[in-house]
């Protein structure tokens, strides 16, 4: 079986190497991507979407399908970890508990956490909201927002975090973020444009088509942010407690 795997891998590698010969050279100024696509994006990006950050425009508008399925991949990761690790209460009793001894020791970490966490959350929302102007966007902001909850779970304990943010709510957010992304695309479809053609939002939001694309980018960034932060929390809940949801690290 192992030998078969090796053979298949070797064949795949050979095919890829053969295909790589035909790729244009790195940073070749005469390759199709450099002669047509990049200049077009750079010249028309701001005019079409009123968004100065070209990276955001390419990520969330020109190749929005790709980003949507990236969000779906993250969503699938959370589901798989949930399926593999999460235990039902009946299975739980058979397991040996490993409870860390921590009562009365967390004073310093709690003091730092209560000051840092709110600032961190507003910073995360700023990163999501200002993806149009500075580096940032849904993925980065979502990671920081999720990390703030992980800090809460580390400095207090996992049970405290779960009491504030129930597992059901987290899973609702996991699905809701992807739904928001796809829903924006579906609304555009319903308005008679392409799927994820944000200009279709112009009639609903009451703005020009260019501004509608800018707002559409913001909406899908928010969707990605919700997905990423809730997926991080879901992963942490399951991984830190081994699926029991009682004691974290």
């Amino acid at each position: 079986m192992k030998r078969l795997t090796l053979v298949i891998l070797a064949i795949c590698a050979l095919i890829m190497l053969a295909a790589a010969v035909d790729l244009p050279n790195w940073a070749d100024p005469s390759s199709p991507a450099s002669t047509h696509l990049s200049p077009d994006f750079l010249e028309q990006g701001y005019g079409e979407t009123a968004t100065p950050n070209i990276v955001t425009v390419v990520l969330a508008d020109y190749r929005s399908y790709d980003t949507m399925f990236e969000a779906v991949v993250v969503f699938a990761a959370a589901l798989i970890v949930l399926v593999v690790l999460r235990r039902t209460p009946r299975q739980r009793s058979k397991m040996v508990q490993h409870r860390p001894v921590r009562e009365g020791r967390d004073t310093v970490l709690r003091g730092a956490a209560q000051l840092i966490i709110p600032v961190m959350q507003i910073f995360a929302l700023y990163v999501v909201g200002h993806g149009h102007y500075s580096p940032g966007g849904g993925f980065q902001g979502g990671v920081i927002f999720g990390a703030s909850f992980i800090l809460l779970a580390l400095c207090y304990n996992l049970q405290f975090t779960i009491d504030r943010f129930k597992e059901q709510a987290v899973l609702f957010c996991v699905a809701g973020g992807v739904l928001l992304y796809a829903g924006v695309g579906a609304i555009c479809l319903a308005m008679g444009w392409n799927f994820l053609g944000y200009a279709g939002l112009a009639g609903i939001l009451g703005v020009s088509e260019v501004m509608a694309r800018s707002h559409g980018i913001l909406l899908v960034e928010v969707g990605v942010g919700i997905t990423v932060f809730s997926v991080m929390m879901s992963l942490y809940y399951d991984l830190a407690s081994g699926g029991d949801l009682d004691e974290g690290l």
Partner: protein, 169 residues
């Protein structure tokens, strides 16, 4: 009350970070501050006096404490840098662990004291178990500075008690 203060502080942070003052971004800022306030309004000022005036007094006293503390931090850094660069570091060092019971009541005051101990010369807080501090001291003299002479609390602990619990300095 704590929710209102948290909202104002969060909105100030948003303004500083955003630096854009058009209607769209300000609305976004209001929404974000509201969301953060809803999620964690009980965190930022937990364990403090609930009255606005009392909070102002605490902040004012804390600033005076910071002035005193910064000088201690400079001394600490000169001390540790000299120790690191001196050729006979192992002769000067005398590491040992000190424990003492604190007089501070609130968790936040203990947090401030623990971090101040970590920042000042020759001592690092290892652990706070209930109300006992375990401190690692790198020289014999730094342990003496920490504990203070006689029975009463050390100088730093009196400062922290004055800031947060209104004791005499």
């Amino acid at each position: 009350m704590s929710a209102i203060i948290t909202f104002c502080v969060m909105f100030a942070f948003w303004i500083v970070m955003s630096g854009k003052f058009d209607l769209f971004h300000l609305t976004m800022g209001l929404l974000s501050s509201g969301l953060v306030t809803w999620l964690s309004h009980d965190l930022l000022f937990s364990g403090h006096t609930k009255k606005f005036g009392g909070l102002m007094v605490e902040i004012g006293r804390f600033l005076r404490y910071v002035v005193w503390l910064s000088w201690q931090i400079v001394i600490a850094n000169i001390h540790i840098a000299g120790l690191a660069l001196s050729p006979q570091a192992r002769e000067i060092m005398d590491p040992h662990v000190v424990s003492f019971k604190t007089v501070l009541k609130t968790d936040f005051a203990r947090f401030v004291l623990a971090n101040s101990i970590t920042l000042t010369p020759g001592t690092v807080t290892i652990r706070i178990q209930d109300d006992t501090f375990y401190v690692h001291a790198i020289t014999a003299q730094s342990a003496g500075d920490l504990a203070g002479a006689g029975d009463g609390p050390g100088e730093m602990e009196r400062w922290v008690a004055w800031v947060f619990e209104g004791g005499s300095r």
